[in-house]
């Protein structure tokens, strides 16, 4: 373990991380957001699930620096009198869980299918890519709705609320894999004809090893870029699904549901209900994007 740490801190990855202040800021931001939402019950000033802690009398209070603002509610309160800061902290829990896990599972699925389709070609490629085309012709939301409907139908009623978040992850990743598959497939088709792949074939390496060790590292660049963009998309999709009533119940809010609820109050002047969750989402996505771009470049030895 010490050996590993030593190698890590002496390595190129750590060095390139340390030499870029923007990446450090992005990493700290991401870490703080993940940490504070994971430990929301300790960090947040109020427990939004505890009905005794909020009061309808406190509803629609503006942030603390405005007139009528109260010190207790740093970023104001929503229509039910819940503290916006606390709802953001609790809300990012679900958003982050859904966002990261659905992107990772969509990525794994898409990469595997893309590698197989691009490397084997022929009818395997044709079948896989037609499936992808069919899926691409439906909006992602519709597919998520469909998957969600089927899975919820199969589950017993009482389990539905508990498992809702996992159903969401499966539904979103099943609608997002196509982009990875198409990108990876086309890059794989280019890499496959290069001589380093033929050299690996001459050595006798089996096909899965060639795909994983030689082709995968060379096609990861665009995948990381898509992943960082899709993280935001996944969080929004989760919000949409929750809004349509097929996602997590309204009692356990996510960033997306907060933004949607807040939207209704935007024109009556209570902008803070939607703006602060929105800002939190923007900051998170931006930080992850910067990290993703850095990782893409840091993993490319040519750019070191």
């Amino acid at each position: 373990m010490r050996d590993f740490l030593q190698r890590f801190f002496g390595g190129d990855l750590w060095w390139s991380f340390r030499s870029s202040p923007m990446v450090i800021v992005a990493a700290i931001t991401t870490f703080v957001m993940i940490f504070s939402s994971a430990f929301a019950n300790i960090v947040a000033p109020y427990d939004i699930f505890d009905l005794t802690q909020f009061n309808l009398m406190d509803s629609l209070k503006p942030p603390v620096w405005m007139e009528r603002g109260e010190v207790g509610f740093l970023l104001g309160t929503d229509d039910q009198g819940r503290d916006v800061l606390s709802t953001i902290l609790y809300g990012s829990r679900i958003s982050l869980l859904v966002g990261f896990f659905s992107v990772i599972s969509a990525m794994v699925l898409g990469i595997i299918i893309g590698l197989i389709a691009g490397y084997s070609g022929g009818w395997v490629d044709a079948v896989l890519m037609r499936i992808a085309d069919v899926q691409l012709s439906f909006p992602a939301i519709l597919i998520a709705l469909l998957v969600n409907g089927i899975i919820s139908g199969l589950l017993p009623g009482e389990a539905q609320a508990d498992l809702a978040i996992y159903v969401l992850i499966v539904a979103i990743s099943l609608s997002f894999w196509v982009q990875y598959a198409r990108t990876v497939r086309s890059s794989t088709m280019v890499e496959r004809t290069k001589e380093y792949v033929q050299a690996a074939q001459v050595i006798g390496l089996p096909q899965p090893l060639i795909l994983l060790r030689h082709i995968l590292p060379n096609v990861m660049g665009p995948v990381l870029v898509i992943a960082t963009i899709q993280l935001a998309l996944a969080i929004i999709t989760e919000a949409t699904l929750s809004f349509l009533g097929v996602g997590v119940p309204p009692t356990s809010p996510s960033l997306g549901t907060l933004i949607r609820i807040g939207n209704d109050y935007l024109f009556s002047g209570e902008w803070w209900i939607t703006v602060f969750p929105g800002l939190a989402l923007v900051i998170l996505v931006l930080a992850v994007n910067i990290l993703g771009d850095w990782l893409r470049d840091a993993l490319n030895p040519k750019l070191r």
Partner: protein, 569 residues
Amino acid sequence: MPLLQIRGMRVEFPSRRGSVTAVRDVNFELESGEILGIVGESGAGKSTIANAILGLLEPPGIMSRGEVLLDGECIDGLPIELMRKIRGKRIGMIFQDPLTSLNPLQTIEEQLVETIKIHLQFGESEAQKHAISMLEQVGIPDPDIRIKHYPHQFSGGMRQRVVIALSLCANPEVILADEPTTALDVSIQAQILDLMRRLVRETGVGMIIITHDMGVISEICDRVMVMYRGDVVETGPTRKILGNPDHPYTRSLISAVPRADRRMDRFPLVEYIEAAGTPHKPIDVQDHWLGKARNFGGSKNEFLVSVKDLEMRFTTVRSMFKSRRRYLKAVDRVSFDIRPGEVLGLVGESGSGKSTVARLICGIYKPYAGQVVFDGTDLTSLGSRRQINIYRRQMQMIFQDPFSSLNARMRVADIVAEPIRFHRLASSNKEVLAIVDDLLDHVGLGAAAGKKFPHEFSGGQRQRISIARALATRPRFLICDEPTSALDVSIQAQILNLLKDLQEELQLTMLFISHDLPVIRQVCDRVAVMRDGKLVEEAKTEDLFNKPQNEYTAHLLKLMPRLHSHGAK
């Protein structure tokens, strides 16, 4: 007054860490009707001169000193608008790759007529007539029909003729040709060079040819300018430079060109250029790792590798129905045998199927019909992966393109170690790394190379890494697919010497594929000639070069550039 005059040209590429001078103090003149060759190895600054003349230096490059005079007027530092009128109109250009220098979405006619209309202010029909006469002039048959065709409907040589027509159609005074024949086969190269010489004589334009190939220089140029790392080392008439050069660099450059007229033991190295890293350490097969476990059982069979009636088809038209499918026969009933310890050369022009044969032997492609017999075993009949891998280990391949044959994301040590690890040829990771260091040492790279990534090396060094990787399985049979055609002559000499040494020390059997006949003559014991997928002749090297039996072989030999026939003797 000379047509084009360059005085004291200096080109710099400023960067954060100081300025890199690409070209220093270049002076030359070009008369009309004259062909001047600029020769040098990659990085010598040849193309930079051409770009500087045209005002097309890639940023941040600037011409910091000197002037360019065209017909007595200074043309450097002209505003972009005026410069654009000179490019194409007064100075024409011919580029290296005829495939990419024509627009694939426009017919030849559109491209020619557009250029003529812009530069000569001709009307539509007049421009069309001029375009057809241009095509006729560059020797394209049925120009009035061919002009309606798209670039992909022409062969490589024909396409280069179109590019020449395009560069000539505005009646320029000067033509700059940057490696105009490098992408072409020898027989096409000869035709294009003939055409260029004829056009220069007929139209009286001045031509500058930039090339790395001494053969091209000797064929066509009146005068030569030799460049080395941004400096002009020597300028003079072709006969003098090739026959009796003054500068030691020119001398060593010429001596490094493989001779076509006789066989030598080793290639003379270009000593003027730095030594090839650490010199090659001889390997004693008896106690070296590479010699261990060579229990291949001596020479049970007369031939190590035999290819029998090998056939390969590529599908050109796909269809559900068998009768509608169309195939290209890339390899058509090819048979040959290689004895243990022998080097067989496989020669042919591009598209003759020689690389396909190599890939069929080592199992990258599956043959459509025929057998590949290795040490008495028919490889095409082997079913299981394990059985095949036993033979895969015994044959390795060195590829043509040193830039794509190494995985850019892996460290050199891992690249070389991969076959050792995969075939479990060493007992511990420590041993693997020791073997890798030793191998890298033997190919002249030094053990420190292992920690770096491939892109940190030059083309020649990368080819050494490829060789180390191929040796790492302890092969008996090595396939070299154009191992030096992407390299400079001086590097080519080093790599070929290395291959020769290794072949002798390890008693390797080799299949050496090349389009370059002089190289084949130096390296191979026997030669097989391929044309359009068929084997047309097979003979001992000396016999083939002295008394070719086949017409096509004789034709190829005749086209071989004979640099050394110029004086020198």
